[in-house]
Protein backbone atom coordinates (compact mmCIF):
# COMPACT_ATOMS: atom_id res chain seq x y z
CA UNK A 1 0.00 0.00 0.00
CA UNK A 2 3.00 2.25 0.11
CA UNK A 3 4.15 1.19 -3.29
CA UNK A 4 5.09 4.07 -5.56
CA UNK A 5 6.20 1.91 -8.49
CA UNK A 6 4.32 2.48 -11.69
CA UNK A 7 3.33 5.98 -10.59
CA UNK A 8 4.75 9.39 -11.22
CA UNK A 9 5.44 11.02 -7.88
CA UNK A 10 4.85 14.75 -7.66
CA UNK A 11 7.80 16.98 -8.34
CA UNK A 12 9.81 17.50 -5.20
CA UNK A 13 8.71 14.34 -3.46
CA UNK A 14 11.88 12.56 -4.50
CA UNK A 15 13.65 14.49 -1.73
CA UNK A 16 11.99 12.32 0.90
CA UNK A 17 13.57 8.95 1.39
CA UNK A 18 10.81 8.00 3.82
CA UNK A 19 8.22 7.62 1.10
CA UNK A 20 7.16 4.48 -0.66
CA UNK A 21 8.16 1.99 2.01
CA UNK A 22 6.31 -1.29 2.00
CA UNK A 23 4.31 -2.65 4.90
CA UNK A 24 6.82 -5.45 5.04
CA UNK A 25 9.68 -2.99 5.43
CA UNK A 26 7.91 -1.13 8.22
CA UNK A 27 6.97 -4.38 9.91
CA UNK A 28 10.60 -5.40 9.70
CA UNK A 29 11.67 -2.16 11.36
CA UNK A 30 9.01 -1.91 14.05
CA UNK A 31 8.19 -5.56 14.55
CA UNK A 32 4.82 -7.21 14.80
CA UNK A 33 4.93 -8.27 18.43
CA UNK A 34 2.32 -7.00 20.89
CA UNK A 35 3.32 -3.83 22.77
CA UNK A 36 3.28 -3.78 26.60
CA UNK A 37 0.78 -1.49 28.32
CA UNK A 38 2.85 -1.10 31.46
CA UNK A 39 4.07 2.32 30.26
CA UNK A 40 0.45 3.47 30.37
CA UNK A 41 -0.37 1.85 33.71
CA UNK A 42 2.70 2.59 35.79
CA UNK A 43 2.79 5.99 37.58
CA UNK A 44 6.57 5.71 37.83
CA UNK A 45 6.79 5.78 34.03
CA UNK A 46 4.80 9.00 34.02
CA UNK A 47 7.29 10.62 36.40
CA UNK A 48 10.08 9.61 34.04
CA UNK A 49 8.15 11.00 31.07
CA UNK A 50 7.86 14.36 32.79
CA UNK A 51 11.58 14.52 33.37
CA UNK A 52 12.97 12.91 30.24
CA UNK A 53 10.40 13.92 27.65
CA UNK A 54 8.32 16.95 28.60
CA UNK A 55 11.12 18.90 30.29
CA UNK A 56 13.57 18.20 27.46
CA UNK A 57 11.58 18.15 24.24
CA UNK A 58 10.23 20.81 21.93
CA UNK A 59 6.52 21.28 22.66
CA UNK A 60 4.04 23.21 20.54
CA UNK A 61 2.35 25.80 22.76
CA UNK A 62 0.89 28.43 20.41
CA UNK A 63 0.66 29.66 16.85
CA UNK A 64 1.88 32.86 15.29
CA UNK A 65 -1.63 33.84 14.30
CA UNK A 66 -2.92 33.55 17.87
CA UNK A 67 -0.69 36.44 18.92
CA UNK A 68 -0.32 38.46 15.73
CA UNK A 69 0.30 41.93 17.17
CA UNK A 70 2.99 43.42 19.36
CA UNK A 71 2.05 42.93 23.00
CA UNK A 72 -0.29 39.99 22.28
CA UNK A 73 0.30 37.16 24.70
CA UNK A 74 -0.90 33.69 25.58
CA UNK A 75 -0.57 32.05 28.96
CA UNK A 76 -0.34 28.28 28.76
CA UNK A 77 -0.49 26.13 31.86
CA UNK A 78 1.93 23.22 31.73
CA UNK A 79 1.04 21.05 34.70
CA UNK A 80 3.28 18.33 33.29
CA UNK A 81 6.25 20.58 33.99
CA UNK A 82 4.83 22.32 37.07
CA UNK A 83 4.90 25.68 35.36
CA UNK A 84 2.87 28.33 33.65
CA UNK A 85 4.28 29.72 30.41
CA UNK A 86 3.89 33.24 29.05
CA UNK A 87 4.29 33.44 25.27
CA UNK A 88 4.40 37.06 24.16
CA UNK A 89 5.17 39.08 21.05
CA UNK A 90 7.56 41.85 22.03
CA UNK A 91 7.66 45.37 20.68
CA UNK A 92 10.35 44.18 18.26
CA UNK A 93 7.83 41.70 16.85
CA UNK A 94 9.77 38.72 18.20
CA UNK A 95 7.85 35.97 20.02
CA UNK A 96 9.47 34.91 23.28
CA UNK A 97 8.47 32.53 26.04
CA UNK A 98 8.98 33.00 29.75
CA UNK A 99 8.08 31.22 32.92
CA UNK A 100 5.02 33.11 34.12
CA UNK A 101 6.71 33.63 37.46
CA UNK A 102 7.44 36.92 39.18
CA UNK A 103 11.07 37.08 40.26
CA UNK A 104 10.00 38.86 43.44
CA UNK A 105 8.39 35.96 45.31
CA UNK A 106 7.09 33.63 42.62
CA UNK A 107 3.57 34.82 41.98
CA UNK A 108 2.14 34.44 38.49
CA UNK A 109 2.86 37.65 36.64
CA UNK A 110 -0.13 37.24 34.34
CA UNK A 111 -3.08 35.63 36.10
CA UNK A 112 -5.04 33.09 34.11
CA UNK A 113 -8.47 31.60 34.39
CA UNK A 114 -8.08 28.42 32.41
CA UNK A 115 -5.60 26.08 30.79
CA UNK A 116 -4.84 28.84 28.34
CA UNK A 117 -5.58 32.54 28.43
CA UNK A 118 -5.06 35.28 25.86
CA UNK A 119 -4.45 38.95 26.40
CA UNK A 120 -2.61 42.06 25.31
CA UNK A 121 0.18 43.76 27.19
CA UNK A 122 -0.41 47.51 27.33
CA UNK A 123 2.66 49.61 26.56
CA UNK A 124 4.59 46.38 26.03
CA UNK A 125 4.89 45.60 29.71
CA UNK A 126 3.32 43.07 32.04
CA UNK A 127 3.03 43.82 35.72
CA UNK A 128 2.58 41.42 38.60
CA UNK A 129 -0.69 42.09 40.39
CA UNK A 130 0.78 41.08 43.75
CA UNK A 131 3.20 43.99 44.31
CA UNK A 132 3.33 45.71 40.97
CA UNK A 133 6.70 44.59 39.63
CA UNK A 134 6.82 45.56 35.97
CA UNK A 135 8.52 43.52 33.24
CA UNK A 136 9.09 44.38 29.59
CA UNK A 137 7.57 41.96 27.12
CA UNK A 138 11.11 41.05 26.08
CA UNK A 139 11.91 39.99 29.65
CA UNK A 140 13.85 42.61 31.67
CA UNK A 141 12.55 43.84 35.01
CA UNK A 142 11.72 47.45 34.33
CA UNK A 143 10.47 48.85 37.63
CA UNK A 144 9.84 47.88 41.24
CA UNK A 145 7.58 49.86 43.57
CA UNK A 146 9.51 51.16 46.61
CA UNK A 147 12.72 49.83 45.15
CA UNK A 148 14.85 51.70 47.67
CA UNK A 149 13.24 49.73 50.51
CA UNK A 150 14.95 46.52 49.37
CA UNK A 151 18.36 47.82 50.38
CA UNK A 152 19.97 45.94 47.52
CA UNK A 153 18.24 44.74 44.38
CA UNK A 154 20.10 43.76 41.20
CA UNK A 155 17.32 44.38 38.72
CA UNK A 156 19.53 43.33 35.82
CA UNK A 157 19.42 39.74 37.10
CA UNK A 158 15.71 39.73 37.91
CA UNK A 159 14.11 39.65 34.48
CA UNK A 160 11.52 37.05 33.58
CA UNK A 161 13.06 33.59 33.28
CA UNK A 162 13.22 32.90 29.55
CA UNK A 163 12.36 29.60 27.92
CA UNK A 164 13.82 28.51 24.57
CA UNK A 165 11.22 29.37 21.95
CA UNK A 166 11.33 28.76 18.20
CA UNK A 167 8.79 28.80 15.41
CA UNK A 168 8.20 26.38 12.54
CA UNK A 169 5.61 27.16 9.85
CA UNK A 170 3.84 29.48 12.30
CA UNK A 171 3.65 26.89 15.07
CA UNK A 172 5.40 28.15 18.20
CA UNK A 173 7.35 25.60 20.21
CA UNK A 174 9.14 25.85 23.54
CA UNK A 175 11.80 23.69 25.14
CA UNK A 176 12.17 23.80 28.91
CA UNK A 177 15.74 22.48 28.85
CA UNK A 178 18.34 25.18 29.43
CA UNK A 179 19.80 24.98 26.90
CA UNK A 180 17.92 22.56 24.64
CA UNK A 181 19.91 19.63 23.33
CA UNK A 182 19.06 20.57 19.73
CA UNK A 183 17.37 23.31 17.73
CA UNK A 184 13.73 23.00 16.75
CA UNK A 185 14.77 22.53 13.12
CA UNK A 186 17.10 19.68 14.05
CA UNK A 187 14.43 18.17 16.29
CA UNK A 188 11.83 18.21 13.52
CA UNK A 189 14.37 17.10 10.91
CA UNK A 190 12.84 15.69 7.76
CA UNK A 191 9.39 15.91 9.30
CA UNK A 192 9.71 19.69 9.27
CA UNK A 193 10.61 19.54 5.59
CA UNK A 194 7.85 17.06 4.71
CA UNK A 195 5.16 19.32 6.17
CA UNK A 196 6.70 22.65 5.15
CA UNK A 197 5.21 25.06 2.67
CA UNK A 198 1.49 24.68 3.25
CA UNK A 199 -0.05 28.12 4.00
CA UNK A 200 -1.10 27.18 7.53
CA UNK A 201 -1.21 30.85 8.55
CA UNK A 202 -4.00 31.56 6.07
CA UNK A 203 -6.39 29.25 7.92
CA UNK A 204 -6.89 31.54 10.87
CA UNK A 205 -10.53 30.77 11.53
CA UNK A 206 -10.47 28.23 14.32
CA UNK A 207 -12.99 26.20 16.29
CA UNK A 208 -11.27 24.90 19.39
CA UNK A 209 -12.46 22.32 21.87
CA UNK A 210 -10.93 20.89 24.99
CA UNK A 211 -11.84 18.43 27.68
CA UNK A 212 -10.23 16.77 30.64
CA UNK A 213 -10.13 13.03 30.22
CA UNK A 214 -9.67 10.63 33.10
CA UNK A 215 -7.01 8.62 31.34
CA UNK A 216 -3.29 8.50 30.80
CA UNK A 217 -2.26 10.89 28.02
CA UNK A 218 -0.93 8.12 25.81
CA UNK A 219 -4.35 6.43 25.72
CA UNK A 220 -5.76 9.62 24.19
CA UNK A 221 -2.82 10.07 21.83
CA UNK A 222 -3.02 6.50 20.60
CA UNK A 223 -6.79 6.67 20.06
CA UNK A 224 -6.26 9.53 17.61
CA UNK A 225 -3.28 7.87 15.94
CA UNK A 226 -4.95 5.25 13.79
CA UNK A 227 -7.67 4.84 11.19
CA UNK A 228 -8.59 1.25 12.11
CA UNK A 229 -11.42 2.56 14.32
CA UNK A 230 -13.18 4.63 11.66
CA UNK A 231 -15.73 2.08 10.36
CA UNK A 232 -16.81 1.13 13.90
CA UNK A 233 -16.49 4.15 16.17
CA UNK A 234 -17.72 6.53 13.50
CA UNK A 235 -20.56 4.42 12.15
CA UNK A 236 -22.93 7.04 13.59
CA UNK A 237 -21.40 10.28 12.41
CA UNK A 238 -19.75 9.02 9.24
CA UNK A 239 -22.26 6.51 7.91
CA UNK A 240 -21.19 4.78 4.77
CA UNK A 241 -17.70 6.18 4.96
CA UNK A 242 -16.24 3.82 2.46
CA UNK A 243 -12.86 2.63 1.39
CA UNK A 244 -10.98 4.00 4.38
CA UNK A 245 -7.33 3.31 3.91
CA UNK A 246 -4.71 4.34 6.42
CA UNK A 247 -1.38 3.94 4.69
CA UNK A 248 1.77 5.64 3.35
CA UNK A 249 3.53 5.33 6.67
CA UNK A 250 6.68 7.39 7.05
CA UNK A 251 9.00 6.91 10.00
CA UNK A 252 11.01 10.09 10.54
CA UNK A 253 13.19 9.92 13.62
CA UNK A 254 10.94 10.36 16.67
CA UNK A 255 8.12 11.56 14.41
CA UNK A 256 6.00 9.62 11.97
CA UNK A 257 3.32 10.31 9.44
CA UNK A 258 0.71 8.51 7.43
CA UNK A 259 -2.18 9.18 5.10
CA UNK A 260 -5.91 8.63 5.30
CA UNK A 261 -7.44 7.91 1.93
CA UNK A 262 -11.11 7.21 1.39
CA UNK A 263 -14.04 7.80 -0.86
CA UNK A 264 -15.72 9.84 1.83
CA UNK A 265 -19.22 9.51 3.11
CA UNK A 266 -22.43 9.82 1.24
CA UNK A 267 -23.38 13.27 2.41
CA UNK A 268 -26.67 13.78 4.19
CA UNK A 269 -29.05 16.18 2.47
CA UNK A 270 -28.23 19.18 4.63
CA UNK A 271 -24.50 18.49 4.39
CA UNK A 272 -24.70 18.50 0.61
CA UNK A 273 -26.26 21.97 0.68
CA UNK A 274 -23.90 23.41 3.29
CA UNK A 275 -20.81 21.84 1.72
CA UNK A 276 -21.66 23.28 -1.68
CA UNK A 277 -20.71 26.68 -0.24
CA UNK A 278 -17.23 25.44 0.58
CA UNK A 279 -16.13 22.82 -1.92
CA UNK A 280 -16.94 24.67 -5.12
CA UNK A 281 -14.40 27.46 -4.82
CA UNK A 282 -10.64 27.81 -4.54
CA UNK A 283 -10.80 29.69 -1.24
CA UNK A 284 -12.28 26.86 0.83
CA UNK A 285 -12.40 23.93 -1.58
CA UNK A 286 -9.98 21.07 -2.11
CA UNK A 287 -6.49 22.37 -2.85
CA UNK A 288 -4.35 19.27 -3.36
CA UNK A 289 -1.96 21.50 -5.28
CA UNK A 290 -1.08 23.25 -2.01
CA UNK A 291 -0.01 20.04 -0.29
CA UNK A 292 3.73 19.75 0.21
CA UNK A 293 5.09 17.41 -2.48
CA UNK A 294 5.88 14.53 -0.14
CA UNK A 295 2.26 14.39 1.02
CA UNK A 296 0.02 12.40 -1.31
CA UNK A 297 3.04 12.08 -3.62
CA UNK A 298 1.12 10.27 -6.33
CA UNK A 299 -1.75 12.73 -6.35
CA UNK A 300 -4.47 10.23 -5.46
CA UNK A 301 -7.96 11.64 -5.89
CA UNK A 302 -9.22 9.96 -2.73
CA UNK A 303 -6.73 11.72 -0.42
CA UNK A 304 -8.51 12.81 2.77
CA UNK A 305 -5.79 14.05 5.11
CA UNK A 306 -2.28 13.44 6.34
CA UNK A 307 -2.05 12.12 9.89
CA UNK A 308 1.32 12.60 11.56
CA UNK A 309 2.44 12.02 15.09
CA UNK A 310 4.83 14.78 16.11
CA UNK A 311 6.81 13.69 19.11
CA UNK A 312 5.66 13.71 21.82
CA UNK A 313 2.06 14.98 21.92
CA UNK A 314 1.00 16.90 18.79
CA UNK A 315 -0.84 15.92 15.61
CA UNK A 316 -1.43 18.10 12.54
CA UNK A 317 -4.00 16.57 10.23
CA UNK A 318 -3.32 18.35 6.97
CA UNK A 319 -6.31 18.14 4.64
CA UNK A 320 -6.08 21.18 2.35
CA UNK A 321 -9.87 21.03 1.99
CA UNK A 322 -9.75 17.49 0.58
CA UNK A 323 -11.46 15.79 3.52
CA UNK A 324 -14.13 17.43 5.65
CA UNK A 325 -15.60 20.27 3.56
CA UNK A 326 -13.59 23.43 3.98
CA UNK A 327 -11.19 22.23 6.65
CA UNK A 328 -7.63 23.26 5.83
CA UNK A 329 -6.17 21.28 8.72
CA UNK A 330 -6.95 20.26 12.24
CA UNK A 331 -4.77 19.56 15.22
CA UNK A 332 -4.84 17.50 18.38
CA UNK A 333 -2.69 17.88 21.43
CA UNK A 334 -2.56 15.79 24.58
CA UNK A 335 -1.30 17.40 27.78
CA UNK A 336 -0.80 15.25 30.84
CA UNK A 337 -2.30 16.80 33.96
CA UNK A 338 -1.14 13.88 36.04
CA UNK A 339 -0.63 10.18 35.48
CA UNK A 340 -4.29 9.45 34.94
CA UNK A 341 -5.67 12.79 33.71
CA UNK A 342 -5.22 14.42 30.32
CA UNK A 343 -6.16 17.72 28.77
CA UNK A 344 -7.14 17.10 25.15
CA UNK A 345 -7.25 20.03 22.74
CA UNK A 346 -8.74 19.72 19.26
CA UNK A 347 -8.84 22.61 16.80
CA UNK A 348 -10.44 22.82 13.34
CA UNK A 349 -8.82 25.44 11.11
CA UNK A 350 -10.62 27.05 8.17
CA UNK A 351 -9.75 29.94 5.93
CA UNK A 352 -11.80 32.96 7.02
CA UNK A 353 -15.38 32.98 5.76
CA UNK A 354 -16.02 35.75 3.25
CA UNK A 355 -19.72 36.02 4.00
CA UNK A 356 -22.38 34.76 6.38
CA UNK A 357 -23.27 31.72 4.24
CA UNK A 358 -19.70 30.44 4.25
CA UNK A 359 -19.58 30.89 8.00
CA UNK A 360 -22.65 28.75 8.70
CA UNK A 361 -21.38 26.16 6.23
CA UNK A 362 -18.13 26.01 8.23
CA UNK A 363 -20.18 25.67 11.40
CA UNK A 364 -21.93 22.63 9.91
CA UNK A 365 -18.63 20.99 9.00
CA UNK A 366 -17.30 21.85 12.43
CA UNK A 367 -20.34 20.30 14.12
CA UNK A 368 -19.95 17.06 12.16
CA UNK A 369 -16.29 16.86 13.06
CA UNK A 370 -16.85 17.82 16.69
CA UNK A 371 -19.41 15.03 16.89
CA UNK A 372 -16.91 12.56 15.43
CA UNK A 373 -14.49 13.68 18.16
CA UNK A 374 -17.20 12.97 20.73
CA UNK A 375 -17.24 9.42 19.38
CA UNK A 376 -13.45 9.22 19.55
CA UNK A 377 -13.20 10.47 23.10
CA UNK A 378 -15.88 8.02 24.24
CA UNK A 379 -13.33 5.20 24.24
CA UNK A 380 -10.51 6.74 26.18
CA UNK A 381 -11.63 6.56 29.79
CA UNK A 382 -12.96 3.05 29.21
CA UNK A 383 -9.69 1.97 27.66
CA UNK A 384 -7.70 3.37 30.55
CA UNK A 385 -9.95 1.66 33.05
CA UNK A 386 -9.50 -1.58 31.18
CA UNK A 387 -5.74 -1.26 31.19
CA UNK A 388 -5.73 -0.47 34.90
CA UNK A 389 -7.80 -3.59 35.54
CA UNK A 390 -4.56 -5.47 35.06
CA UNK A 391 -6.02 -8.27 32.98
CA UNK A 392 -4.16 -7.44 29.78
CA UNK A 393 -0.48 -6.71 29.64
CA UNK A 394 -0.15 -5.99 25.96
CA UNK A 395 -1.78 -4.17 23.06
CA UNK A 396 -2.29 -6.19 19.89
CA UNK A 397 -1.46 -3.81 17.04
CA UNK A 398 -2.26 -4.19 13.34
CA UNK A 399 -0.66 -2.43 10.38
CA UNK A 400 -2.93 0.64 10.58
CA UNK A 401 -1.68 1.09 14.13
CA UNK A 402 1.93 1.60 13.11
CA UNK A 403 1.96 5.11 14.56
CA UNK A 404 1.17 3.71 18.00
CA UNK A 405 3.89 1.12 17.72
CA UNK A 406 6.34 3.76 16.58
CA UNK A 407 5.37 6.22 19.34
CA UNK A 408 5.58 3.60 22.09
CA UNK A 409 9.00 2.62 20.87
CA UNK A 410 10.18 6.22 20.91
CA UNK A 411 8.85 6.87 24.37
CA UNK A 412 10.71 3.80 25.62
CA UNK A 413 13.89 4.99 23.93
CA UNK A 414 13.66 8.44 25.51
CA UNK A 415 13.01 7.06 28.96
CA UNK A 416 15.97 4.74 28.65
CA UNK A 417 18.25 7.55 27.48
Amino acid sequence: MNDLSGTTPRKGSEAFSHLGRSVEAIRAELGIEPVPVEAIRDPAVYELEREKIFRRTWLKVATDWEIPEKGDYKVKELQVADTSVLIVRGKDGVVRAFHNVCTHRGNKVVPNSDFETFGKARANVVSCRFHGWVFSTDGPLRSVPMEEAFGKLDKACLGLREIACETWEGFIFINLADPPEQSLADFLGDFGKLFAGYPYAEATSAFRYSTVLECNWKVALYAFSEGYHVPTIHAGSLPGFSGVEHSDFKLIGPHASSTIYGLGMEAASSTAVFASRLVANDHHGPRPDLLPPGINPTGRQDFQFELPNIFPNFLIHLAAGCGYPGIAFFTHQFWPLDHGRTLWEGINYFRPARNAAERVAQMHTNALHRNAWLEDTATMEDTYQGIRAGVIDEMQLMDQEFLIRHAARNFDAHLAG
Partner: protein, 121 residues
Amino acid sequence: MTDTVTLPGRFEDLAPLVATWARPTENARSKIRWSAGPEDFSDFYEVMLPRLPEILDYLATVPLEGMDEADTNLFCLAAAFAEAAPHHELYGGSADVPFSFSARRFVPGHGDVPSWETGRN
Protein backbone atom coordinates in the same frame (compact mmCIF):
# COMPACT_ATOMS: atom_id res chain seq x y z
CA MET B 1 -42.95 36.75 20.71
CA THR B 2 -42.86 36.28 16.96
CA ASP B 3 -44.14 39.81 16.51
CA THR B 4 -40.82 41.10 17.83
CA VAL B 5 -38.61 38.97 15.60
CA THR B 6 -37.37 40.63 12.46
CA LEU B 7 -36.14 38.71 9.47
CA PRO B 8 -35.29 39.68 5.92
CA GLY B 9 -38.59 40.04 4.07
CA ARG B 10 -38.94 36.74 2.28
CA PHE B 11 -37.99 34.78 5.41
CA GLU B 12 -40.52 36.34 7.78
CA ASP B 13 -42.49 33.10 8.01
CA LEU B 14 -39.52 31.52 9.83
CA ALA B 15 -39.95 33.85 12.82
CA PRO B 16 -41.37 31.17 15.14
CA LEU B 17 -38.26 29.06 14.56
CA VAL B 18 -36.04 32.01 15.40
CA ALA B 19 -37.66 32.32 18.79
CA THR B 20 -37.10 28.64 19.51
CA TRP B 21 -33.70 27.92 17.97
CA ALA B 22 -31.73 30.99 17.00
CA ARG B 23 -29.07 32.03 19.50
CA PRO B 24 -25.83 33.90 18.85
CA THR B 25 -23.38 31.59 20.62
CA GLU B 26 -22.49 27.92 20.36
CA ASN B 27 -23.04 27.38 24.08
CA ALA B 28 -26.54 28.86 23.95
CA ARG B 29 -27.47 26.79 20.88
CA SER B 30 -26.08 23.64 22.47
CA LYS B 31 -28.31 24.08 25.52
CA ILE B 32 -31.37 24.29 23.31
CA ARG B 33 -30.30 21.26 21.29
CA TRP B 34 -29.61 19.18 24.39
CA SER B 35 -33.16 19.66 25.58
CA ALA B 36 -34.76 18.96 22.20
CA GLY B 37 -36.56 15.77 21.32
CA PRO B 38 -36.95 13.85 18.05
CA GLU B 39 -40.08 15.77 17.08
CA ASP B 40 -38.39 19.09 17.70
CA PHE B 41 -35.53 18.14 15.42
CA SER B 42 -37.91 16.72 12.85
CA ASP B 43 -40.15 19.78 12.80
CA PHE B 44 -37.16 22.10 12.49
CA TYR B 45 -35.71 19.98 9.72
CA GLU B 46 -38.87 19.70 7.67
CA VAL B 47 -39.20 23.47 7.49
CA MET B 48 -35.57 24.38 7.11
CA LEU B 49 -34.13 21.89 4.63
CA PRO B 50 -36.27 23.01 1.68
CA ARG B 51 -35.44 26.64 2.46
CA LEU B 52 -31.74 26.11 3.05
CA PRO B 53 -30.49 26.85 -0.48
CA GLU B 54 -32.47 30.09 -0.53
CA ILE B 55 -31.25 31.05 2.94
CA LEU B 56 -27.62 30.42 2.00
CA ASP B 57 -28.03 32.30 -1.28
CA TYR B 58 -29.20 35.27 0.73
CA LEU B 59 -26.54 34.97 3.45
CA ALA B 60 -23.87 34.78 0.74
CA THR B 61 -24.65 38.42 0.06
CA VAL B 62 -24.25 39.37 3.73
CA PRO B 63 -20.85 40.32 5.16
CA LEU B 64 -20.20 38.95 8.65
CA GLU B 65 -19.32 42.33 10.03
CA GLY B 66 -22.08 44.81 10.68
CA MET B 67 -25.11 42.56 10.17
CA ASP B 68 -28.39 44.26 11.04
CA GLU B 69 -30.90 42.64 13.37
CA ALA B 70 -32.85 40.86 10.63
CA ASP B 71 -29.73 39.39 9.04
CA THR B 72 -28.36 38.43 12.44
CA ASN B 73 -31.55 36.53 13.23
CA LEU B 74 -31.39 34.65 9.94
CA PHE B 75 -27.71 33.90 10.48
CA CYS B 76 -28.38 32.55 13.98
CA LEU B 77 -31.23 30.41 12.68
CA ALA B 78 -29.06 28.97 9.92
CA ALA B 79 -26.30 28.36 12.47
CA ALA B 80 -28.72 26.48 14.71
CA PHE B 81 -29.80 24.36 11.76
CA ALA B 82 -26.18 23.71 10.77
CA GLU B 83 -25.66 22.16 14.19
CA ALA B 84 -29.07 20.51 14.64
CA ALA B 85 -29.54 18.85 11.24
CA PRO B 86 -27.24 15.86 11.97
CA HIS B 87 -29.40 14.96 14.96
CA HIS B 88 -32.30 14.34 12.59
CA GLU B 89 -30.33 12.96 9.67
CA LEU B 90 -27.77 10.81 11.47
CA TYR B 91 -28.64 10.33 15.14
CA GLY B 92 -32.29 9.23 14.99
CA GLY B 93 -33.58 12.39 16.64
CA SER B 94 -31.37 11.94 19.69
CA ALA B 95 -30.04 15.10 21.33
CA ASP B 96 -26.83 13.20 22.04
CA VAL B 97 -24.48 11.71 19.51
CA PRO B 98 -25.03 7.97 20.04
CA PHE B 99 -22.22 6.04 21.73
CA SER B 100 -20.29 9.18 22.42
CA PHE B 101 -18.50 11.12 25.12
CA SER B 102 -20.67 13.65 26.92
CA ALA B 103 -20.95 16.76 24.80
CA ARG B 104 -21.43 18.68 28.04
CA ARG B 105 -17.82 17.91 28.93
CA PHE B 106 -16.50 19.34 25.65
CA VAL B 107 -15.53 22.96 26.18
CA PRO B 108 -15.59 25.16 23.07
CA GLY B 109 -13.03 27.92 23.49
CA HIS B 110 -15.33 30.12 21.42
CA GLY B 111 -18.48 28.94 23.23
CA ASP B 112 -19.65 32.31 24.50
CA VAL B 113 -18.46 34.35 21.53
CA PRO B 114 -21.12 35.37 18.99
CA SER B 115 -20.64 33.03 16.05
CA TRP B 116 -20.32 35.82 13.51
CA GLU B 117 -17.16 36.95 15.29
CA THR B 118 -14.26 34.77 14.26
CA GLY B 119 -12.35 36.21 17.21
CA ARG B 120 -8.97 35.09 18.42
CA ASN B 121 -7.64 32.07 16.68
